[in-house]
Amino acid sequence: MATPTAVDVVMPQMGVSVSEGTITKWLKQEGEEIQADEPLLEISTDKVDTEVPSPGSGVVQQILAQEGETVPVGQRIAVIGAAGAEVAEETPPAPATQDAAAEANAAASAETQIPTDQGVEEPVPAAVEPQRAEEQPAPPPAPAQEPVDDGATNGKSFVSPVVARIASEHGVDVSQVPGTGRGGRVTKKDILGFVESGGQAAPAPAQPEAQPQAAAPAAPPEAPATPQQPAAPTPPPSQPAPAAQAPQPAAEAQPGESEEPMTAMRKGIAEHMRRSLDTSAHVTSAIEIDMSRVVAIREKLKPEYQKGYGVNPTYLIFVARAVVETLRDYPWINGEIRGDKIVTRNYANLGFAVELADGKGLIVPVVKHAEGLNLLGMAQAVTDIAERARNKQLTPDEVQGGTFTITNPGGYGTFHGTPVISQPQAAILGTYAVVKRPWVIQDELGKDVIAIRPIMNLTLTYDHRLVDGALAGRFLQSLQQKLETWGESDY
């Protein structure tokens, strides 16, 4: 269906931590027709490179940001207009409606009505036009003004429910916030702007929540990188005064060194890693798992899975299944610290760290509602997202909303690590190489014997603010038990 009115295309939110995106390519130019959901442009953000589908059908009326430009999430980057409206309105909807507005204000003459009729004709039942003309002599704004004055009397002192809530959540003194509402009232926008700008007037001891924001200035490391990109026409997005960082960028490449620009993804990773370490109290515990049963069952399932479904029952899949089962009993490990609250959930969205080709980056696609998947379902889901992550086909939805993450650096034989938590989650599980090791077990007589067993190390890196060491230990033990006693029919 044709979009009845102009639709704005905005820079989409590609991940919780992502605040801006770079336009890499416009797939449609101004004046071209486009259908809803047809790819309109390609963007690159620090998490995902992806195509952005058109939010409506019609004609690309205006492109407001050029290729190479970096714009904040939510900013208008294009306008899709009604299919019929096309090029004449390329200097877009504004004229038509401006006429209408001008007309309304300036008790229109007969001539100005003609353009109005044309301009508004599209979505409007024609019968409405004459009414407007009749109503102009008596401008309706009049009644609206009275309450404005009334409001002024209590304007400054009245705090609306939403403003009160935001103020208490952020520990802001509302009287310190400049108000732009009726009679100087502080509006929601006012206080949100105040909080976002770091609450200039609030030098009071920063609330815990303020920290993530305080981390934002840590972004200036981007500043040095940008100037070195010769072709980048983008001014570094509003970096107030990163004076402290100033000395670093001065360093230039020395003989024998070479430079390359940091990709948006690398900058994003850098910022997130630093911020995570600044936010959570990272502690790592490790456990050794005897994978004998999993190895045996995996051997059995492998041909069936490969032939029937084209997927591989990797060790990772078994671990992921066991993790989902275990998380159910440890809600805090699947939880999050949000402000001064602890959030837990009745579902598990599992993130999987996926390496992109040549070590050029890392992305963490999320399998949503993993608690609803059996072993095969998990294998299919993980195969699918990993493949699409490598082919850059993930949608923004698929890289956010994770509640727990698994990273698997064991592919290269490493047996231990201390990964960094993906914020705002509470923990991350590392899986390592399965190695044959001499292992002390008990024989049927209860005597100790040495056997050769496939052993895998697991690490849980957790946020000690929320998760105590004993809890982490019990979680790992419970995970160990599930994996070591995996039954034929468990899936």
């Binding site: 979505p123 039942p125 407007r132 509402g181």
Partner: protein, 324 residues
């Protein structure tokens, strides 16, 4: 996809269901030989015969009562009130019997009553009302108010499928004025799922029926002042999409409820009350209601314009909210 008017989309959905399901039949005043007062069932009697397209006497009680009985016996009646206003004659059958039969006796009453409603053409007090709120208060009835041709078809099919009595309010002002692409194939539009008619950040307008277009025009005016207005078209009043309304209210923190029905006890009051109960701490301004005054619908054209909320009224209300 073919472009259909709102009226053609209703016909299209109804015809399709009659072809598909022999239990579906139509009954109403002048729906047969004459094709209906608004020609929704034009050609139906030729195609389906006089036993499935029944001309009824001028007795809404008999129409709704007959439908209730037929539904209990297993048919899927679709009744047409010539004007929604006349439904009051069928109140007893609808409210006392049809709405409560399943609760009382366990027998479903899958009837649809089509109700051409709304003003804007000087129809006077008997041919212009939007009585949806009166029935929203009756447990056991479902209430549908499509605003677009696509929804008109999809919601009608859902209404016929639904095992409950459904009141289907079709707005006369939209019949031939609104035209858009409608899928040819059969599809259903779910009840209780609002449609975002226009996305915005600063103010939410919750509305339905013809007022969706009034709100949209007002929103275009506000866009000039850099105020972005979100319009939620509820599509169905019972059940209504509380979640979508609450989410949008939480996003914008300023809400206008707009309807063509009169103000006191109008369904907008229910919406406003729910928002203040469940999203109070997200509000940045009082919830604003724009509705018709508490009078019968006037016949005189200037008075009728003063009665039905106009674009300028809505725009003024939106400005007030924006400036609050």
């Amino acid at each position: 996809m073919p472009e259909l008017t709102y009226l053609q989309a209703i016909s299209d959905g109804l015809r399709g269901e009659m072809r598909r399901d022999k239990r579906v039949f139509v009954i109403g005043e002048d729906v047969g030989v004459y094709g209906g007062a608004f020609k929704v069932t034009l050609g139906f009697q030729e195609e389906f015969g006089p036993w499935r397209v029944l001309d009824a006497p001028l007795a809404e009680t008999a129409i709704v009562g007959g439908c209730t009985g037929a539904a209990i016996m297993g048919l899927r009646p679709v009744a047409e009130m010539q004007f929604a206003d006349f439904i009051s004659c069928g109140w007893d059958h609808l409210v006392t019997v049809a709405a409560k039969q399943f609760y009382r006796a366990g027998t479903p009453v899958p009837i649809v009553v089509r109700l051409p409603s709304g003003g804007g053409f000087s129809g006077g007090p008997f041919h212009s009302q939007n009585p949806e709120s009166s029935f929203a208060h009756i447990a056991g009835l479902k209430i549908v108010c499509p605003a677009t041709p696509e929804d008109a078809k999809g919601l009608l099919i859902s209404a016929i499928e639904d095992p409950n009595p459904v009141l289907y309010f079709e707005h006369k002002h939209l019949y031939r004025r609104i035209k858009s692409e409608v899928p040819e194939e059969r599809y259903t539009t779910p009840f209780g799922k609002a449609r975002v008619h226009r996305e915005g950040e600063d103010i939410t307008v919750v509305t339905w029926g013809a007022m969706v277009y009034t709100a949209d025009e007002a929103a275009q005016q506000l866009e000039q002042d850099d105020v972005s207005v979100e319009i939620l078209d509820l599509r169905t009043i019972i059940p209504w999409d509380r979640q979508a309304v609450l989410e949008s209210a939480k996003k914008t923190s300023k809400v206008m409820v707009l309807h063509e029905d009169t103000r006191t006890g109008g369904f907008g009051a229910e919406i406003a009350a729910t928002i203040s109960e469940e999203a109070f701490e997200h509000l940045d301004a009082p919830i604003k209601r724009i509705a018709a005054p508490d009078t019968p619908v006037p016949f005189s054209p200037p008075l009728e314009k003063a009665f039905i909320p106009q674009v300028e009224d809505v725009a003024a209300g939106l400005r007030e909210l924006a400036e609050y």
